[in-house]
């Protein structure tokens, strides 16, 4: 691979933040004035630079190519006889496109230099350090969010995309709850008596366990191990245990697993 031919400039795309940055660098390197930008000369320098990048197999982002096309067009304007073709373009926005580029570059240069000025200012965490505030407890203090609306979105996004949403804290020892466990829970809670389905389910802390237990109740109804009774529309549902908790639960397991698989 060939090294850059001209030692005074190195081809480094990553040091440029876009085509305007590169263009400004070239303008300054060539020592030309922005106000009277020699478009042809700058276009050549720019295209030359892109060629070097290509020679080095460096990826060239699309926006650099768009600028290259613009520069080629602007250069062609200089080569063509002035009036006939150009007329429309100039009339449209009332400005020579070359001047427009120079103006755009000048505006970019202002912010670019402002960035340099920012860079030289004392910078917390680099040049100067501050104290964390002392912690003072205070009741009835007004609250502030500490983030803006976008921060709120970030938090929401984090929640949506969290790899594995942690199960609720209290579920630590219930994650492993099986249908067998659920059946045993129901039968031992009832202990052969009658109980309310809602109080049975509300004793369980998570929705997952409640669903599992509800499925277990339905399955045991089918097997005749428990009975269900509802005396009025939307009234409470009573569950009656008809077998002991030490019933052979292997019977239920196969079927329920098959049903929920």
């Amino acid at each position: 691979m060939s090294a850059p031919a001209q030692p005074e400039w190195f081809v480094q795309t990553d040091v440029f933040d876009g085509p305007l940055d590169l263009l400004l660098y070239l303008v300054r390197r060539e020592g030309v004035e922005l106000r009277a930008l020699p478009v042809a000369r700058i276009a050549d320098a720019y295209l030359n630079y892109l060629d070097k990048m290509r020679d080095l197999n460096l990826g060239i982002a699309g926006e650099y190519l768009v600028m290259a096309a613009t520069l080629i067009w602007l250069k062609s304007l200089e080569l063509l006889p002035k009036k006939p073709v150009l007329h429309d373009e100039e009339e449209e926005d009332g400005e020579d496109p070359r001047e427009a580029l120079a103006r755009r570059l000048a505006e970019y240069a202002r912010y670019r230099d402002a960035a340099d000025t920012l860079h030289t200012r004392p910078h917390v965490g680099r040049d100067t350090f501050v104290r964390d505030p002392s912690d003072v407890a205070g009741e009835d203090r007004p609250v502030e969010p500490g983030v803006d609306a976008f921060g709120l979105l970030e938090i929401f996004y984090d929640l949506l995309t969290r790899e594995d949403t942690p199960e609720p804290e209290y579920e630590v020892d219930t994650v492993t709850l099986s249908l067998e466990d659920a059946c045993r829970f129901v039968l031992s809670s009832l202990a052969g008596q009658v109980g309310e389905l809602s109080s049975l389910l509300s004793a369980l802390p998570t929705r997952r366990e409640r669903i599992l237990t509800f499925v277990a109740v339905l399955e045991m109804v089918r097997l005749g191990w428990v009975g269900l009774e509802q005396t009025e529309h939307l009234g409470s549902i009573r569950v009656e245990g008809k077998v002991d908790a030490d019933v052979d639960l292997s019977r239920v397991m196969g079927r329920v697993e098959a049903a929920t698989a």
């Binding site: 007004p142 609250v143 976008f150």
Partner: protein, 185 residues
């Protein structure tokens, strides 16, 4: 280090070691051992001890003092200013907790939403946080959901919009806008 141990002397150009020690102690916040100070400044440990003593004397009649705590040295405010500090900091708003922000974000984007829907997304019990937010006027009850049990649904309030400088819920940035910001890097 100069022989003159006056911490911030008038006629000396500066006692550089005392100034440096002060900067280090100020920035670190917590107690720092004299050995660590010596290492950071690349000076003799004995010089650091002398410097700390001088610095400490210099803090007489000042708002802060230098104390040896937990095997290290720490700058602290003098106790007599505690009242004013409490008064100053007591007016300062406290920050919403991460938990509160999480609940707010879920309610803001999914409202109207039930408590169990919030908990599903967060993966933790959120009742306490939601009560606090209701109390602060950032959440409100927005009806009941048409499902068994008819659970309460929650939404955000006008105070919520004000807190986040939004004129309208539609002003919330969207997930798509977030994605668009992420696309190019």
């Amino acid at each position: 280090m100069s022989d003159n141990l006056l911490p911030f002397p008038g006629n000396e150009p500066s006692d550089g070691l005392c100034a440096a020690l002060e900067a280090l102690l100020f920035a670190s916040g917590g107690p720092v051992s004299s050995r660590n100070l010596a290492e950071a400044l690349d000076v003799e440990h004995a010089d650091v001890l002398g410097g700390l003593a001088a610095l400490s004397r210099g803090y007489e009649d000042r708002g802060i003092e230098l104390l040896e705590i937990a095997g290290g040295w720490q700058l602290r405010t003098r106790p007599e200013h505690a009242g004013a500090i409490l008064k100053l900091m007591g007016q300062r708003p406290s920050r919403l907790s991460r938990a509160a922000l999480e609940v707010l974000s879920v309610v803001a984007y999914k409202q109207p939403v039930t408590r169990s829907e919030v908990e599903q997304l967060r993966g933790v019990d959120s009742g306490g946080v939601m009560r606090t937010l209701l109390g602060r006027g950032l959440l409100r009850v927005a009806g009941r959901k048409a499902e068994p049990g008819r659970p309460l649904m929650y939404g955000t309030t006008r105070a919520f919009l004000e807190m986040f400088a939004l004129s309208d819920l539609r002003d919330l940035p969207t997930l798509r806008e977030r994605e668009e910001l992420e696309e190019d890097v």
